[in-house]
Subunit: 258 residues, 2 copies
């Protein structure tokens, strides 16, 4: 059924680019893509062979669904523009951070289509394993979005605004903040002329352990052992990186308290 | 050649257990294992079919190599005991944190045999990918240790005390601290009755990205975007976890400064 429904995808950044490709690949009928940046709009439009526009005034008016894969701070203004062209349109956004009620001033039919993953243009996305969180105000819209999600990936969840906000906080810890720790590790070893590759098997195992065991039971190292001598030695070494030193102290205490 | 060399393994904890099994599997001649804890000594001894002792006074005296896989704070005292039984014995330890010079008061022949990985008894260790860092004072000992390491795994590195200290600091960031962030994510979602499984594909992708791209170029999320509204919303939510809230603020600033 979804093949016949007409979908407009707004936003061709990291999420829009990969979601657009996946929808198209799964036979979903995208009638138009939009980006304010011509280069981005063109890149995706060409990849999936659909028309594009850079002008919100030219958005297709009678689509069955508008997917907004745009920055959180412009969701409202894009929704306003769409509602001018298409009153009572079904709109969803793909963000983990913004409540779906951002749409409420512009339409009664709105929801969420949030792939819980980190996307980068230059890296393939494996939608089979990506959890897709959906929600909608109207039951009929929800059923449609859920079917659409199931066409795209295997792990579809009904997640409310409140739950999504919580997932997003947790996602920041396990993804953004973890990536920053990797960045710190990379900086430290490369500054000393060592290869970051030496640490890669350790990083992979750190995550693989968590797939099967609770994180707390997998904690090792000087903090959990209460190995003061090593901790002091590390803090001494980190004198040259005051930010890292402070973070080291803070997380060490945090581990010891939890 | 190593098959004929007699090796004593002291310590049957996370590292000793897995290293002992791997050495044995690769045909290395372990003549004895030791642990202060009878249960641990027995568990490994039985697994690899070698004699065990819980008494350092009963350590085999004429071994070619003593591998100390013990807590950092007892390396010195164990080395002292061995030197009583076996003067000028070749001793190595498996720790990332302690300089090899800890052996200097007890023998002139010492070195390092440090597998850069996180081990847990109840989880299989994949030695093929584990980096093994070796070092020694005497060239002849170094050559022997390097050959032994190559018998055990594919990635053998000559790493000095100074380099190892730096690798260990970095390892704490990318492993111990990362694991703690996973623990925080797990706590947050489970307290709200959500399954941690929803976050697992994200965690796997976080690491997989780093295998091929510099961490900095893979950073996403509200901190790097400067998305103040989302950051404030997250900090509000974290009011109930003051430690997590403080950490969130600190890492966010750190990301923005780097």
């Amino acid at each position: 059924m979804n093949q016949q429904k007409k979908i407009v995808l707004i936003g061709c950044g990291n999420v829009g680019y990969h979601l657009g490709r996946r929808l198209k690949k799964r036979g979903v009928h995208i009638v138009q893509v939009h980006s304010r940046t011509k280069k981005r709009a063109k890149r995706l439009a060409k990849k999936i062979n659909v028309p594009y526009t850079t002008d919100l005034g030219e958005i297709v008016a009678d689509a069955d669904l508008y997917i907004l894969a745009v920055r959180d701070d412009v969701i409202g203004e894009v929704a306003a523009k769409i509602s001018e062209r298409s009153s009572n349109a079904l709109m969803v956004h793909t963000s983990g951070a913004t409540p779906s009620t951002v749409f409420a001033p512009y339409t009664n039919r709105y929801g969420i289509f949030y792939p819980l993953q980190t996307f980068s243009i230059n890296r393939a996305a494996n939608f089979k394993t990506i959890p897709l969180c959906v929600d909608a105000v109207e039951l009929e819209d929800f059923i449609f979005l859920k079917q659409l999600a199931e066409q795209v990936c295997r792990n579809v969840y009904h997640i409310t605004d409140e739950q999504r906000a919580i997932l997003h906080v947790a996602a920041v810890f396990v993804n953004n903040f973890t990536n920053h720790l990797f960045h710190i590790g990379e900086n430290i070893v490369e500054k000393e002329g060592l290869s970051f590759d030496i640490l890669k098997p350790l990083m992979q195992e750190t995550v693989e352990k968590i797939m099967k065991h609770p994180a707390k039971s997998m904690q090792t190292g000087p903090a959990i052992r209460g190995d003061k001598k090593t901790i002091e030695r590390h803090l001494d070494y980190l004198e040259q990186y005051p930010d890292y030193q402070e973070l080291y102290e803070k997380i060490t205490k945090n581990i010891q308290l939890s």
